[in-house]
Symmetry: C2
Subunit: 647 residues, 2 copies
């Protein structure tokens, strides 16, 4: 056992006073409304069916260390990688997602399933702590020979995150100890010290996992290792070059051509544009933001901020989706945001949420939490079907009906990622610092806070995101000096607040208003955000959206589906002055606000079997309906469009 | 030597009276104007530099049969195919392109280079006639084991076309005899007869090459083999399934998943949609159209017509480009015509030209020759740079400047294809039947016809396509009864014709007007096609072009390049009533008509570093200029757009 392990207590957090620390997600109960429904779906359907898929698809077979390896579940790609190389990451993420449900909703069956996996992992772990099912079973002699392509530390990172979550949920240390031993092995193997490999994994993930581990163990070596990986990244000459030569390969033959694919083309502090594989970029930036705080390193925060500005000003879909290209699963160039071929991987959107929440921990600024909210309600949530057991890997903003949700994916990284986002959602709603509670997100829930011994309850009653009225009620044992930092969403043009019925003057600083008072039990704070239907227009450099309009109401971006209007929405034309009505439709997939208005249909007659003619298509009136983007592709197959053509 | 070879005479054609037979291209001299310039460029720059590339890139090394094979010039793909498998096709096509120049412009150096290749081919040809450099040198035991993936007959087809062209140009029989022996071997190996393999090549090409060969040799076995291949195609159970099993493979593992990729999913007469790889489809359809005539088989013509209607009504770019997807180098679904990701391979556009000309040979209908002209001036010609030594493989209709022309391509099928199209261009201008001359294309040239012993000269003087006025002068030894069939282009709304100054009444039937007369030497026929700038609109089901307009003048489709207007054309807005002026710009890349008008620029200010806002971008006046699409990407790198956003 590692010497560090003895220091731990469940839930212990460092630096509680220096940053806005996320509330423990188990202390936020979504007891009604929007997220209650989604959390129930994920808990009752998603988590069990995902375990079933992991079994059916051979993901758990890789842990049968006592038996010879079976046939490859996934073939080797030109990069040398098989999806099976990182199957560990998938059940690691599943354990994490499931663990977040266990404290408030104990489930002996799920817990037994996790214990079974942990037992196999512990059994298979090598003497020296190494842990990766592919290499142990298939190519032990090749371990640590290809950090560029084979995701060893990426997989271990997800196992670490799973182990931390399971430990925090159950207090069981076995998995955590396994992963601490694995990290000890990595510390022995990698680092700047003589005799160690000066490497880092091309697929970021372990960096942020090590910070999570550090916050549980308090072991400074865990933080140091994460810091080393981030600092070493992109240093030249590249470790990946040396490593390729040691394998007898020419580094110039790298299948992705540039280390920008892995954000390893230059040191992280010198990077000014988000580049390469989007999930990798978001995991790296999450770790950089964590380390900026933990190491009190403003140079990392500066870099993260530059990259945040680049992302949000140049490379982000209106849904919060990111990484437009399938070729590199990532970024291309500024303003390249194609709709129908959008890759916009669910994992990247989820990871953007992770990053935004971390940014707001040390720098309470609505620009971060606005993006967290956007991605949560749109580009991330679109990755899971309303039934909780079908998924999108790619989240296009336009379709001709060819995009259908998958029961399982060839590379199933996304299903468990969106699952863990939803099961741990409470932590993104609130952070605390001293006697301050920052409220980032709105939605019906009841939360509990322990502010240095002062117990505070806060209940939100609201139909958000369908309505903008929120009633917050405080539960206190005695009158208490509290400061509430309330996010005023960036989309909101008019807000009114009352405390116990009296108007509260609202001055937002960086997107948050401060309400400080000696609060009493039962104090009631009401917020009323105007939530009209808004028309959105893209920056003119986004050629794809030229002449097009999108609709948003509150944080929810809308789309039009063929099934609602009887024609492909690509044939719809919207007048610049068209008025839209918002209406709650209780029958739509569990209930949602839909938008209704009058549009025009570009008529197909008169083309005489041809494709082109010299007069524009005639326009005929056609009413239309728009539904929340995250709910698309849950009904009949058909075309869909977020950016609609203006008349 | 094959018994058939003795029957040949250079240039002999069968069925002269039953169809409109293309004029021998050597008898059409482009002595001025548009095509003179292009033919000179191809002859003086393209043909020599292509041979240089073939040498530099190792394409000719594959013929060094006496030496062990060198390292692979191209790696093996997941399909099992290396580009090097079909290097033969590339120099075959180069020989063909070069041969078309030799009769009117003898070039001993080029002829010697061809002879050197022929000598090596003859030397390497196997005893039994088999000829393919890959298999002979590398895997002789694997020949004819994978028609699904490895292009053996495709390569031989291009060698046959090259051999026919070289024979017709020089009268030298050596190459032709080599290929006749190769075909004899194929006849011995494949066919419906017991003991033969009942196969056909997945990549069509040999089918049309065999018809060309038959028209030179008169050997009915050559026609029969082509007919067999076309009739056998798509019959079930599939030969490709059997063949895969013989290789010990599971047919279900086929990398392209469906034989529709090769138009082999069902018998050709049952196909109703153009599918799969676009070049393959066009080569097949060319052969089907040839065979419809040669075998007097209306069922093939019916199928070709159905597929022509499907292509032109559902799957064709306004430029004549086709096959939008890189994934299968081909077709996807009706109305899927993305602009920026258009694959629209040059080869496919050239092959569409081949097919259209064949359709018009037996069925004189302007709908075919309209497409021939469209693709010629736009989607095919865009594949070669004005300097004659840079190329596009993909012909996008929109770019942000990332598309630059290549000096050579990884898979260099396109450069030699566009070269042979241009060097043989005369044959597409005129066809004859009895005493009829059908004039399909307009452009300055002097042509000679031998109509059953009657010698006719016809000269076109015109600045076409920049102007619509054509003066045609007849040269005759004596007064001659002639029928001229003059194409009235589909784009033309108003035409006037005079014969020796007197108006000629014009009644177009299927796009052609008939002028029959006893003509005398010096008779002058003037045609004047109105050629205003036209706005084009796409069928509303083409979502990509919703709210957009394209410009065409005569047969020439226009585009806007960033270099001409100082902003990305994606930011340009065109008013529905904007008037455009056409002006000849002698300084633009050798001279071209450009279009000039007043547009608007979507201003980028006011976005405050963000991507989306609730008000549309402000519009500021901005003049713009459009240039012929085929001339794009010949100057500074920059963005380009064919379909411009309307205001």
């Amino acid at each position: 056992m590692s010497s560090s392990a003895s220091k731990m207590t469940t839930g212990e957090r460092l630096h509680r006073h220096e940053r806005y620390v996320p509330v423990d997600h188990t202390r936020v109960a979504f007891n009604a409304g929007f997220w209650k429904s989604w959390q129930e779906t994920v808990r009752d359907v998603t988590i069990p069916t995902q375990h079933k898929r992991l079994e059916e698809e051979g993901f758990l077979e890789v842990l049968d260390f006592d038996n010879p390896p079976g046939p490859l579940a996934r073939p080797i790609q030109p990069s040398g990688l098989s999806m099976q190389h990182f199957f560990d990451s998938d059940f690691g993420k599943w354990i994490e997602a499931a663990s977040y449900t266990l404290k408030n909703h104990p489930n002996p069956d799920i817990e037994a399933k996790i214990d079974a996996i942990v037992e196999k992992l512990e059994h298979g772990q090598m003497e020296d702590g190494y842990l990766n099912s592919w290499f142990i079973r298939r190519e032990p002699e090749k371990r640590w020979t290809n950090l560029r392509d084979l995701h060893e530390m990426y997989s271990m990172g997800h196992l670490i995150e799973g182990a931390v979550a399971y430990f925090e949920a159950t207090g069981k240390r076995r998995f955590l100890d396994v992963m601490i031993r694995a990290v000890d092995h990595i510390i022995d193997t990698f680092g700047p010290e003589p005799g160690k490999l000066r490497g880092y994994d091309a697929h970021e993930e372990i960096e942020l996992a090590l910070v999570k581990l550090y916050r549980v163990t308090g072991d400074p070596r865990h933080l140091k290792l994460s810091t080393y990986f981030v600092d070493e990244r992109g240093q030249m000459p590249s470790y990946f070059d040396d490593e390729a030569r040691r394998r007898g390969e020419d580094p110039a033959d790298y299948v992705y051509e540039t280390y920008a694919y892995s954000q390893a083309h230059k040191p992280v502090r010198e990077q000014n544009e988000v580049v390469g594989h989007a999930v990798r970029a978001m995991y790296l930036l999450s770790a950089m933001t964590d380390l900026a705080f933990e190491n009190d390193d403003p140079s990392l925060k500066d870099a993260a901020d530059r990259l945040f500005a680049n992302l949000t000003g140049r490379q982000l879909y209106v849904t919060g989706g990111l990484g437009p290209s399938a070729a590199n699963e990532g970024f291309t160039r500024a303003f390249d945001l194609p709709n129908e071929t959008a890759y916009a991987e669910t994992c990247a959107a989820v990871a953007l949420g992770f990053w935004c929440s971390r940014l707001a921990e040390t720098d309470l600024d609505g620009k971060y939490t606005d993006q967290l909210e956007t991605v949560l309600f749109n580009g991330a949530l679109s990755g899971i079907a309303r039934d909780g057991e079908h998924y999108f890997y790619e989240n296009v903003l336009e379709s001709h009906g060819q995009n259908r949700r998958w029961k399982w994916h060839y590379c199933p990284c996304c299903p468990t990622n969106i699952a863990r986002f939803i099961t741990s959602l409470g932590q993104y709603f609130y952070t605390t610092k001293g006697n301050e509670i920052a409220v980032h997100l709105y939605g019906a829930n009841a939360a509990e806070f322990d502010l240095d011994g002062t117990f505070v309850r806060l209940r939100q009653e609201t139909a958000y995101p369908w309505e903008g009225d929120i009633r917050m009620t405080l539960g206190l044992f005695q009158p208490t000096d509290l400061t509430l930092k309330l996010r005023i969403p960036g989309w909101c043009r008019r807000v009114r607040a009352t405390l116990n019925g009296r108007d509260v003057p609202l001055v937002a600083v960086k997107g948050y208003v401060t309400v400080s008072d000696t609060f009493e039990d039962g104090d009631e704070l009401r917020l009323s955000f105007d939530m009209p239907v808004e028309r959105l227009y893209a920056h003119p450099a986004v050629g794809e959206d030229a002449g097009r309009v999108a609709f948003r109401r509150g944080p929810v971006v809308y789309c039009v589906e063929e099934t609602d209007i009887g024609i492909e929405p690509q044939r719809l034309r919207i007048a610049p002055d068209a008025s839209l009505e918002a209406r709650y439709d209780a029958d739509l997939l569990g209930g949602a606000v839909v938008l209704e208005g009058e549009g025009f249909e570009a008529a197909t007659d008169g083309f005489d079997g041809g494709l082109y003619r010299t007069s524009p298509p005639a326009l005929k009136p056609r009413p239309f309906r728009a539904i929340p983007y995250h709910l698309w592709a849950n009904r009949e197959a058909g075309a869909m469009q977020v950016w609609l053509t203006e008349k």
